[in-house]
Amino acid sequence: MALRFATQRAASRAIAKNMQVRGMATEKQIFNQIQATKNIRKITSSMKMVSAAKLKGDEGRLFKARPFNAWTTALCGEPKLCEDATYEELPQKCLLVPFSSERGLCGGVNSFISRNTRNIVSILASAGKECDIVVIGDKGRAQLGRTVGEKIIRSTTDIESPGTFDLAAGITTELVAAGAADYDAVVLIYNSYVNPAVYKQMYKVITPFSGEGEDEPMMEYEFEPDTKSEVMKDLYEMAITSQVFHSFMDAAAAEQSSRMSAMESASKNAGEMIDSLTIKYNRARQARITTELIEIISGAAALED
């Protein structure tokens, strides 16, 4: 009789263990969730360390690119902040070149660039101005292709990092093939690295060095031989290449810093999730132990009777 009771109790316990109460996770499920979250935390913290190491290299390249590109400030002006910009100074026909990343899990870098690019497109459209877009980077291509795809004329994706001046020369050749000389300005939109925690969206306006009469550029210089138009064409292409090089280095450093802080947040969130799941798991475990003790004690009490 006692054996029959014990068998029945074991059977009912087995059924209760396999039965899932709707909306409530079992102990095993919670344990699996904890293990999965621990694995994710390991991945995100190793990604953070990899990004920190890559940021060091990208920062070094950016600090060399800044003085290399300093001469363009005299011709094209300083880069401007996208935040609260009115873009009134943009001319009738612009070629927009947004810089985005190739890989994801890098925080908001690509979303900010896409948003600013769409903002510029709508401001130019409302002012009766025209624009076309050449996208740099796969993430920007995907986001802008969905929203302003009809404006895109070229894209460069799957860019091998780290970037070099030859890459900037290639991108400039793509821009020239897209007709950069026929536009009134080339506008580079990129993320500018400030420090490992901060990056800002900036834009640069590069206008062709051409004009007649009063608009003729560099009137104070004499050109020997008198091939000013050729020199201006070469200078324009070199200015675009140098600016693209600097913007690419800046964007790469900003991407790594953003990825680092995104992975840091993800690791911290995973840690908090593990803590709350562990409490839930312990509660479920204690409930199971209590149930088993009650059954044993009830069974023992029944036997005594």
Binding site: I152, S155, T157, D166, V176, T227
Partner: protein, 70 residues
């Protein structure tokens, strides 16, 4: 269009192409170990595609400057 006067334009190169070729020549002229250290500066690779009416065209791999802009 006026006849070009600079030697790189006469050779069919833009100024940027001429500058990158000149830089590669200087890097190749360096002695070891600088030469192998600088070799990576000549390398780049990306895929370019032309868009028509909001639709992306075929991707073309570009790893030398002469292929770019086609």
């Amino acid at each position: 269009m006026a006849t070009p006067t600079t030697f790189w334009r006469l050779a069919g190169m833009s100024y940027v192409q001429y500058v990158t070729r000149a830089s590669s020549a200087v890097r190749n002229a360096a002695k070891e170990p600088a030469k192998s250290k600088l070799a990576a500066n000549s390398k780049f690779s990306y895929n370019a595609s032309v868009w028509e009416g909001g639709v992306q065209g075929k991707k073309v791999e570009i790893d030398v400057l002469s292929k770019a802009g086609i």
